[in-house]
Symmetry: C2
Subunit: 770 residues, 2 copies
């Protein structure tokens, strides 16, 4: 499919990100680089127990240490719970700790050493309580209760009981009847591990208050307005007295939308009357922040001999740990992903979120999609083998097409799953066959953004202001969380105004002045914010052309913008520099041109309403992986990785490739090495040696293929892409291991040990197929 | 006249400014309090000559000093001229110095001492040139030329020649014929001195650049966007790479809208690669920044016996010094003020701006109004005495009324000059008569904002965003330059939304993100920005009420906002907290309510066009002063001061009183003590002992009287007030001195020496009247 980028000058072309050189040269200034005079250093005291009552906290010895400016405990905060969406925790533990590493007290002092010394002098008396560490056990009626009040966290109709925080079930069609018609029924369980978001900059922030009490926090976050809301809750401060400046971010991958340390840092700064900097060390980062839920999925599928999928019964149980930071208002993502991008005659799927005394959990790239994706994509692969079909073939037979309805509701439009599979098949066809001994190929698919409008088009606004010299300020609250999204927004403005990308400046979001935004994430900024930015740029362009039309004595419709000039179409001699028109705006009306974009404008809202229930910009992708399995040691080596994704329209193909490659790296970690090992609530490997995030040397050559099936709502047809490019990688690796060694591994990561024992158990270390 | 404030809850009531407590407690953080690590200190080398050629500048010895980070000269800047409106100067002198104190080079070093040491090691070879110090002499064709290229600073039609930078003349009616009909012709000359703006915080700023080269400047300015424009010119930087954050300002009074030190500070920071702080000492502040022009006015008036004003011929010559920072595009203010707020059968008025080698000049409170005001208000007083009329009486007979046309164009509407005079008469009537010996009363009037629409309604925009908790961010680019204007804007928002003033937050303007603004000044922010803020607040309110109407199941028209609640009118039981509706907005549409106000919106612009040529919000005031004159020493003591001003509608009466009182203090300085004594281009008293700005102990009891004659365009009828509350004070003092001692002094300030010699010359130290 030819790219439509040839019609454009700037969008559709690879553009180097503005922050690339700074980051590569080590010159980038991250949030914690925000230096202030008299900056204090902070340290946090954490619980050694997975579950205990706090009998007393005595900070008197700590406060007496010279150089200590403030010591805080739960008593320094109002008695309110906080959280990103679900309010189930306090900043410092109050009366009870529920997981190892839970923050209990904190110190701000002249330097880290002094803060550390004071920390050791805080006397906390704990009364240890029995804990619960297995989510299935936690579901039993007489289990230890992690939260006494959990049932009150959600409305009663959610039927939350005991440690079951949240459960949801959807049935479509008559599942039992569908199973009756099946030629083959296949059932299996799948387990996925706890994964950390894997960013390179740990959580860190700087907080300071001015003499009037106005608090400013410089932090690396993707959601400054969300952090403001949470801080306001935590401190009992009006929102107007809290200001968040979202500094440069050294990776988010889902993990930086919530207050983890911000409440502590802010409270210390307020109490000390001086600015405070708090940085987590890797021990804390890996042992106490919000990680990906460990999950167990059970799938039972009924299929016909010809590979037609009939019935699916599925259940997934997430171990939420002690707190669930980022539970969305429903679990439809889990349920839709248990179904996969496939048609079934009937489905019966359920998802449960259960509290335990394990580490707290939250958003990590793809949220709960990779867990379900591993299950269904492994399951489909097994079924293909069982009915003797090619894995691409069976998927093509059942793949969703335009007009299909997802089990969670929403009618699909602009579905590219078929094209993704065709590109996958074409790639595999080009590979050398038969494969070498002990090597194998595996594929898996993923889907994302399959929620219907208008959910996918929530409010946002943007401004495009043309300076006197023709340079442009793009006003947006979108953060650059590391994905390159700001460059995409700059490209949209530059395209619409016919100027170079580097003439478009974007200030780091500041909650006091930037347009409100719900935070960069969910692969939705291009799709949801992009149109508003485009609207603002076009508004500015129209104003500019009206002005220039008067100067050039022609109709505005006859004018085009290119290379910083406004030209009369088909009359190359007649033109005016854009900056002259920009200056003219200021001298004639006293102010610069300001174009505005507001997603909820009436005419636009009417169009959105008309599309209600439609899934307009669903995103599909596939991973194709070649592995070698060492049958003596169980070691799996990924030899090659190919990844196909639909971008709708790739505004910045280099960015899209970056997102795909980053997703593959994340997916390979999930597949092979990343597992937070927790025993009785204690994380055993919370250090960056034993918790192994793939380094560049661990990553094979990645070949990305972008396809473009445009959406109706995205700018130039763009869709969201990036969040779940990791998801299909782990099942593809597992499927490739099966292809190479005939062993079906249903528990991630595929460590050498697991593969080795899998081969042993199977007793078929020389056979190639099941 | 009863105040209309009873219809309102928040506007029309005195509200304490948000920064009052911080400033009073010494806790306010001004721009130069912006502390950054590794901040360098800067010092500026200045010319000792009023006029000289720069033969060479050798910085090698200075650069060799340990601790010196950067030394700059004119060679470090592109060869472009800069200035606020008129581009007649460079940041550091290039080839030539034109006044004593002109900046020639600058140093940034680890501390001020090191910078000072380095400064002394910069070798500048000057070749002194003859200078010109008298503006009339400077007008002669063979005079020394201050600027070779001055004629190119303005378009040719302005007919600038030699050192005459700018001249303008207006005639209305047949002046010679009108003089023919006069019973009395009176002619006199008036001289006014150089005055400094008199703020308490000298110019200071901090500049720093990030590794990408983006420059940020924290400075106390009333016009951050103007500073950005100038810095962009000065450095040859795109505007999008320059960011100005307008920190708290310790007084502006007109003096902080231009780059004085910002270009130097920014260039040093860029060259040093570290942040730099530059603060002027008072010697520099008084000896090298832009001050009020010294002016000479000649007036010739023809009047009838009954006091009817017939003919006016007037001319004012301003000594611009070496550079004229803030010349506006025309001199209509000067010309209209020579006429005063009075009807004349015919006028012939002209104004001239002339370069000399005296200190450079620019905006100081009231710009060039106080100079003309002193002339015409002294002149009218003399005429009254000569025709034997009361000074109030003669003014009342000739005062402008609705429908009158100013000589510069523009038809007056909402004219309050008559009411101001009536309030003046009423006040005088209440005073004890006859006055004690050697004491006397004087009055004078002033007018302002008599320019016709749409000039007075230049583009501005505002946003009102309602946070989840019902607190509000007001988005505006207006700076708090010291007048309390931000409180007025907060009151407007609070009034419209029915919330407390302190729930409305305004961030300090930041050119990267704040709405564009042309800078606080000219008494126009309330009148020009206020309506846009009101529009934004009403837009937000309407959105809020629509939402609440659904919740309360009634028409939005039935709802009112008060005390943080939305209530159904006439149904007190039915209400919803405003914050619930605010939160509802976020949950229903995914984003907070954002109300926007844009002054150039089409429907509004049509209304503005319809009012073109109308002077909608003219502001009038009067000062009434009682003095005692010591006939032995010539010492003048101001015993009492009363000031009447029309606020249209006083949104914050406490603020209006503050503006009146501040204006009186400034006017008393102009009247009695403030004079920058310059001899052959050298300022002799540039220190805060010899240049005496009145302290609180110098100020008598001030009684302010606010009257309210509403404008059509200002919010709630408000007009601009503040800028020229100083203007009538000096002529009122001079008129009172005449009343007390019978001596007419036509040169300001009325120093003891001048009064003494005036009494001597008159030889009538015992007479009470002329």
């Amino acid at each position: 499919m030819p790219s439509k980028s040839e019609h454009f000058n700037i969008v559709g072309k690879p553009v180097i990100r503005g922050d690339a050189a700074l980051k590569a040269a080590g010159l980038a200034e991250y949030s914690a680089d925000h230096r202030l005079p008299d900056l204090l250093a902070a340290k946090v005291l954490r619980s050694p127990h997975p579950h205990a009552r706090i009998v007393s906290v005595d900070t008197s010895r700590a406060r007496a240490v010279e150089g200590v400016a403030a010591v805080i405990t739960a008593a320094d905060f109002p008695e309110t719970r906080t959280g990103r969406w679900l309010l189930d925790r306090t900043v410092l533990a109050r009366h009870r700790v529920r997981h190892v590493g839970e923050a209990v007290a904190a110190v701000a002092a002249v330097d880290e050493e002094t803060a550390g010394e004071a920390l050791r002098l805080i006397d906390v008396e704990y009364q240890p309580l029995p804990g619960v560490f297995d989510p299935v056990e936690a579901m039993e009626p007489d289990s230890v209760r992690v939260h006494e009040e959990a049932a009150r966290y959600f409305p009663p109709e959610r039927n939350c009981r005991g440690n079951i925080l949240h459960s949801q079930r959807i049935t479509v069609g008559d599942v039992e009847a569908a199973f009756q018609k099946a030629d083959l029924i296949y059932e299996a369980s799948y387990a996925t591990p706890i994964q950390h978001a894997g960013f390179t900059q740990p959580h860190q922030c700087v907080a300071g208050a001015d003499p009037s009490g106005k608090l400013t926090l410089w932090t690396s976050t993707k959601d400054p307005f969300g952090i403001r809301r949470q801080l306001s809750q935590i401190l009992g401060y009006p929102m107007s007295s809290v200001r968040i400046v979202a500094g440069m971010c050294g990776g988010d991958f889902g993990g930086k939308g919530s207050t983890t340390i911000e409440g502590i840092c802010a409270a210390l700064a307020l109490k000390a009357g001086k600015p405070v900097k708090l940085t987590l060390d890797w021990h804390e980062e890996l042992g106490s922040t919000f990680v990906r839920t460990r999950a167990m999925a059970q799938l039972k599928a009924g299929v016909k001999k010809d590979g037609t999928l009939l019935a699916l019964k599925g259940r997934i149980i997430h171990d939420c740990g002690a707190y669930m930071d980022a539970v969305a208002s429903n679990l439809s993502g889990d349920l839709a992903n248990l179904q996969g991008p496939y048609r079934w005659a009937a489905v019966d799927v359920s998802a449960l979120m259960v509290y335990t005394n394990n580490p707290p959990t939250g958003h990590v790239r793809g949220v709960r999609y990779p867990q379900a994706c591993f299950a269904i994509e492994s399951h489909i692969d097994s079924i293909a083998r069982k009915v003797g079909m090619d894995p691409v073939e069976i998927r093509l037979r059942n793949i969703m097409r335009d007009g299909d309805r997802v089990c969670t509701g929403g009618v699909l439009r602009n579905v590219s799953a078929g094209q993704v599979l065709e590109a996958t098949a074409a790639f595999i066809k080009r590979q050398k066959r038969p494969v070498e001994p002990n090597t194998g190929w595996g594929i898996a698919m993923a889907q994302y953004n399959i929620h219907p409008l208008p959910g996918g088009l929530q409010t946002t606004s943007a401004g495009v202001r043309i300076n006197d010299d023709g340079t442009v300020q793009l006003l947006t609250g979108s953060t650059e969380q590391g994905s390159g999204i700001v460059t995409v927004l700059q490209q949209i403005v530059a395209e619409e105004l016919g100027i170079p990308v580097d003439s478009v400046t974007v200030a780091p979001p500041d909650t006091d002045v930037s347009p409100w935004e719900r935070g960069t994430g969910a692969s939705e900024t291009t799709y949801r914010v992009g149109p508003t930015v485009q609207m603002a740029a076009r508004d500015a362009r129209d104003q500019l052309l009206s002005l220039a039309a008067r100067k050039l004595d022609c109709e505005p419709e006859k004018l085009v913008l290119a290379e910083g000039r406004i030209l009369v179409r088909d009359a190359p001699g007649r033109s005016v520099p854009m900056k002259d028109a920009a200056r003219e705006a200021i001298s004639s009306s006293g102010g610069p041109i300001l174009g505005t974009g507001l997603s909820q404008r009436k005419e636009r809202f009417r169009r959105i309403e008309a599309d209600k229930g439609i899934v307009d910009g669903p995103s599909y992708g596939a991973a194709i992986v070649k592995v070698a399995v060492d049958r003596e040691t169980g070691k799996v080596t990924v030899l090659q990785c190919h990844s196909v994704w639909d971008a709708g329209f790739a505004i910045n193909p280099a960015n899209v490739e970056g997102q795909i490659e980053g997703g593959v790296a994340c997916g390979l970690g999930y597949a092979l090495t990343e597992e937070m090992v927790v025993k009785n609530g204690r994380t055993l490997n919370n250090n960056i040696v034993d918790y192994h995030v793939p380094a560049s040397t661990d990553i094979p050559a990645i070949e990305s293929k972008i396809i473009e099936v445009p959406s109706n709502w995205g700018p130039y047809g763009a869709k969201g892409l990036g969040e779940v490019t990791n998801a299909p990688v782990a099942p593809a690796v597992a499927n490739a291991v099966f292809d190479a060694a005939g062993v079906r591994l249903t528990e991630l990561p595929l460590t050498q040990e697991r593969v080795f024992f899998g081969l042993e158990t199977r007793g078929s270390r020389n056979s190639n197929h099941e």
